[in-house]
């Protein structure tokens, strides 16, 4: 009998499929994983501490650096928390509310296309990656035209949004929305419907309903496991109660479901934007807020449906211009805790797919 030995493999921090600077130490028996230890923190910038040294307004641009794939929604979560703290949630002008919805759904499309792209790349389908990036770029072009920057838009403001958009912008948006279903069909044809792809991802990394709740999944990951919960529909923030949309659900919570749920969600986002464009009123885009923001003493926790899950901010105010404590509840950070549990016993190739399927962005994991 030959003596065999476990192989310890350091995957990351520089590795093609850890989506940034995530490191996990894998113990391998052949190519099967016996133990996983996560190591995060390579991108830690101390944003929570930085927030304590910035005024409420000044912290808005930093949110784009959290989850750099969905900057708009991070900013939205932050400003909504501050608005809640100040008690001006009801005073946001209509047009600003609609713009917020349009922008965040546009950003959701951009973020989910990046998910499709990176997922496709992680199973070595480079062409799917390029097709998804083609569409993401168009969404980002629109965000750039509205805010001036592609990824860190700094567009949301406490009490409204930074800038208005014109008719030309809307016509471009309409063009994107018209083309989007065809693009999504293309992803379905090239990636989802591919038998090799299905063989790779079906029944891999199964997270059951109970397990998903236990390990703190949220958003699309949770819905892929069959939990029918969407903050936009169930606890509507902003004006989401005015739109009609379906909440796509997965069946068994494997990587395939997590992928398909996101593609379906993009279709719903297109749907929401179409409704919003139709109804958007003219009017001001900023509420009357004092120039120096001084929320009353107290605290607020607000959660929105980010593209990765529930992004929440817990802000404690001591009545001064700077927050006393800002806590960022990041979906990726919590979701990443599932990797050591699920990856155990998997093949190395499956582990890569499993990691890719929960859509982590290291900027948000490490903050």
């Amino acid at each position: 009998m030959l003596k065999t030995q476990e192989l310890t493999l350091n995957m990351g921090p520089q590795h093609p499929s850890t989506h940034g600077v995530f490191r996990c130490v894998l113990n391998l028996d052949g190519e099967y994983i016996t133990k996983v230890v996560n190591h995060t923190g390579y991108l830690h910038r101390g944003l929570e501490k930085l927030a304590e040294a910035r005024t409420y307004t000044q912290f808005i641009p930093y949110n784009g650096r959290l989850d750099y794939c969905s900057g708009m929604m991070n900013e939205l979560a932050y400003v909504m928390t501050v608005e809640k703290l100040m008690g001006i949630t009801e005073e946001i002008p209509e047009r600003a509310q609609y713009l917020r919805v349009i922008m965040s759904e546009l950003q959701r499309i951009a973020s989910h296309t990046i998910y499709v792209a990176s997922f496709s790349l992680d199973i070595a389908g480079f062409t799917g990656f390029m097709y998804a990036f083609r569409d993401r770029d168009r969404a980002l072009d629109l965000i750039e035209a509205a805010s001036g920057q592609r990824m860190m838009p700094n567009y949301m403001r406490i009490g409204g949004v930074a800038a208005d958009v014109d008719e030309n912008w809307f016509s471009q948006l309409q063009k994107l929305l018209d083309d989007m279903p065809a693009s999504l069909d293309e992803y379905d044809g090239l990636i989802t419907g591919n038998e090799i792809f299905q063989a790779r991802v079906k029944n891999v990394g199964i997270v059951t309903r109970e397990m998903a709740l236990d390990i703190g999944f949220s958003g699309p990951n949770l819905r892929a496991s069959g939990v029918d919960h969407d903050l936009r529909r169930d606890e509507p923030y902003g004006i989401y109660d005015r739109f009609k949309f379906d909440v796509p659900l997965g069946e068994q919570g494997d990587t395939f479901d997590r992928f398909v749920v996101r593609i379906k969600e993009m279709r719903q986002s297109v749907n929401i934007i179409k409704q919003a464009i139709k109804d958007i009123p003219e009017g001001p885009i900023m509420a009357k807020v004092p120039k120096v923001i001084k929320p009353p003493v107290g605290e607020a926790f607000h959660c929105i449906e980010n593209s990765k899950g529930h992004l929440g901010f817990h802000i404690v105010s001591d009545g001064s211009t700077k927050p006393y404590r800002t806590r960022i509840y990041s979906p990726c950070f919590v979701s990443l805790g599932f990797f050591p549990i699920v990856a155990k016993g998997q093949h190395l190739m499956d582990a890569v797919v499993t990691l890719a399927s929960i859509d982590i962005v290291l900027g948000e994991v490490d903050r």
């Binding site: 000044q58 641009p61 097709y131 035209a145 090239l190």
Partner: protein, 157 residues
């Protein structure tokens, strides 16, 4: 039937084979930038009243303003430095500027060989233009912030 998806995928890629390319030949083909694009900063020095609002609005202490009082006890700008290496490009300074002296421009090719070269000295690199010589009238400081209007007019001028 097994293989249908594979053939469909092959069809999709073949369909794109002769399609128009979507990438840009960058140095020859210049990108079309939107009006609000945040590239770099330019300062219309005669309009600046050295009030320091931009520096206050900055989250990262990027802007260093030097000024001196002239004979009328009026502030006069003598230096305006931007430590662009730690700039977030958030644009709060441009929004805060009451006289529209600080503006965005579309110069995005900012890569430099040395780190220090990235920093901007807007006061010394200012090229006078006749339009800027109009008397600078500080707007009344409004109680409510309306940055969107400021930005639009700023870009129009």
């Amino acid at each position: 039937m097994f293989g249908q998806g594979l053939i469909k995928g092959l069809g999709i890629t073949f369909g794109h084979l002769f399609e128009k390319k979507i990438t840009q030949q960058y140095p020859e083909e210049r990108p079309v930038l939107p009006e609000r694009f945040k590239g770099s900063f330019s300062l219309r020095v005669p309009k600046c009243i050295a009030c320091g609002l931009c520096s206050n609005a900055c989250p990262n202490n990027v802007i260093k303003i030097e000024s001196e009082k002239d004979e009328n006890n009026k502030k006069k700008l003598t230096g305006y430095k931007m430590m662009a290496e730690r700039c977030l490009y958030c644009g709060f300074c441009v929004e805060a500027c009451p006289t529209k002296a600080l503006l965005w421009n579309h110069n995005f090719e900012r890569a430099k060989f040395f780190r220090e070269d990235v920093n901007l000295d807007l006061f010394n690199s200012y090229v006078p233009s006749p339009e800027d010589e109009k008397p600078a009238k500080p707007e009344k400081e409004e109680e409510t912030a309306k940055p969107e209007k400021e930005e639009e007019t700023a870009q129009a001028s």
